[in-house]
């Protein structure tokens, strides 16, 4: 069993790439952790689809105001500089190219940047929310994910087999083992854990990993 980064460590790594003052949308669940790991001295402005920019942290239990929630329907707070707006303005921010970064989870990412993260197939009740909007418009669309599925199959693949969220939309993938960019229809390896060899990483990846200069060590603190 290869050592791998925890979800919190993957979120920490992604947070290092977010500039001070960036406008950022974090997907529901795992990507929300990114907000906890902003480097000292940087402050991003977080956007939530239901109509808040620059919201604050979760309130203390018992202090929730349920008119003040995020897209995951969790209670948040306001802080100096918070803005409210309606849904069409909110998605104008998304689609109109005004967000610097959108960070999402994934079931599969293909080497051309196709993303599948909304449906695992035709069973049950389909639900999409804002996923298909978020993958278009942000200057960078990054994915946080385990490098493989629970049963060891690659999540970075040649072609997605699950229903697509968007075509050729992802620009960078932070995994439990590596940082991979998508460039000209290829996976380009930027960073990997020291404890894993290139060949081992390649064997866990569903399409060729290309090299473009040095591969840096992927190092994340215990968080």
């Amino acid at each position: 069993m290869t050592a791998k980064l925890s979800n919190a460590q993957i979120a920490w790594r992604a947070a290092q790439d977010i500039d001070d003052g960036a406008y950022v949308n974090l997907g529901i669940g795992f990507p929300e952790m990114v907000a906890r790991f902003q480097p000292e001295g940087r402050e991003a402005v977080f956007h939530t689809e239901n109509g808040i920019l620059g919201f604050g942290e979760a309130p203390q239990p018992g202090d929730e105001d349920w008119d003040l929630i995020n897209a995951g329907k969790k209670a948040v707070t306001i802080k100096p500089g918070t803005a409210f707006f309606h849904h069409a303005d909110s998605f104008a921010m998304v689609r109109g190219g005004h967000l610097d970064v959108a960070i999402l989870g994934a079931y599969q990412v293909a080497q051309n940047g196709d993303l599948a993260n909304w449906s695992t197939g035709p069973k049950g009740v389909p639900a999409v929310g804002g996923a298909m909007d978020l993958v278009h418009g942000a200057k960078r669309v990054a994915v946080l994910t385990d490098h493989t599925t629970k049963d060891g199959k690659p999540k970075l693949v040649q072609h997605c087999t699950l229903p697509l969220t968007g075509v050729a939309c992802v620009t960078r993938i932070y995994t439990s083992l590596a940082v991979v960019d998508i460039q000209d229809g290829h996976f380009v390896l930027r960073e990997k854990l020291v404890s894993i060899s290139f060949d081992e990483l390649q064997s866990l990846t569903g399409a060729p990993l290309h090299l473009d200069g040095d591969v840096a060590d992927l190092i994340a603190p215990e968080v």
Partner: protein, 244 residues
């Protein structure tokens, strides 16, 4: 001009069978619970309005609000982006049994279709959904080297929304994130009724603070201390109350 309506029952009296009804809210935030429950009361006492198409971001949570409408059998079709919630049982069971139709729309496309309906724009192109199952069968076109999907406007016979303060002319302000779809729905429906926590005389709202201009609002009814769907669900409330 005075758009005040004396009672919730009057506020929902015009909604007919087979109508398309936009209902404001994102989850519990902005859900016009009292208007919805007044509509349920009418259905239970008269059998109308039924066979409704309801447009909302979600498809109800627990056993109040839209979930209660579905539970009573008033809703034939939901148009929404995310028919899941903490407790989506009511919709899920009916959907899986084939008793309710679902039109699934990406959230931003849903908002823009409603906005377009209110703005007199019959169709528009969006990058959202291109190459996915939700764009199947829709016209696509290329603009400046990128592919876009054509989406149609959404309009409704009625909109039921929740606002914070309204004046006699229908000018509205909202409370925090509760505004979400309401300003768009108010524009897109032939008849819009708002429940508001406070009604003031014209001049009682700073013109700079008006979010929805009164031209988009046909009636308003005062609900001074509105219920919050999330709070009702956390208390396991069912509407109408089941008496043992």
């Amino acid at each position: 001009m005075d758009k005040r309506i004396a009672s919730l029952a009057e506020a929902v009296a015009d909604i007919t069978d087979n109508a398309t009804v936009m209902i404001g809210g994102f989850g519990g935030s902005g859900a016009p619970i009292e208007l919805i429950h007044a509509l349920i009361d009418r259905y239970l006492s008269t059998g109308s309005p039924g066979n409704l198409t309801v447009i909302n971001n979600n498809a109800g949570n627990g056993h109040v609000g839209i979930a209660a409408m579905i539970e009573q059998g008033m809703v034939a079709k939901m148009i929404c982006s995310f028919p899941r919630s903490a407790d989506p049982r009511v919709f899920t069971e009916r959907y899986l049994a084939g008793q309710i139709e679902l039109e699934l729309v990406p959230q931003g496309t849903l908002a823009e279709r409603i906005r377009a309906g209110g703005a007199g724009i019959p169709a528009f192109y969006t990058p959202t959904g291109f190459g996915t199952d939700l764009a199947a069968g829709k016209p696509v076109a290329q603009f400046d080297g990128r592919q876009y999907v054509q989406e149609r406007w959404l309009k409704a016979d009625f909109a039921l929304i929740k606002a914070e303060t309204g004046d006699h002319l229908g000018n509205l302000t909202y409370r925090m994130a509760a505004r979400n779809f309401a300003p768009l729905m108010a524009m897109a429906a032939a008849r819009t009724v708002a429940q508001v926590s406070r009604i003031v005389a014209p001049g009682g709202i700073d013109p700079e603070a008006v979010v929805t201009a009164g031209i988009f609002v046909d009636g308003l009814v005062a609900v001074p201390t509105p219920a919050q769907e999330e709070v009702l669900n956390r208390a396991n409330v069912t509407y109408p109350e089941v008496t043992a």
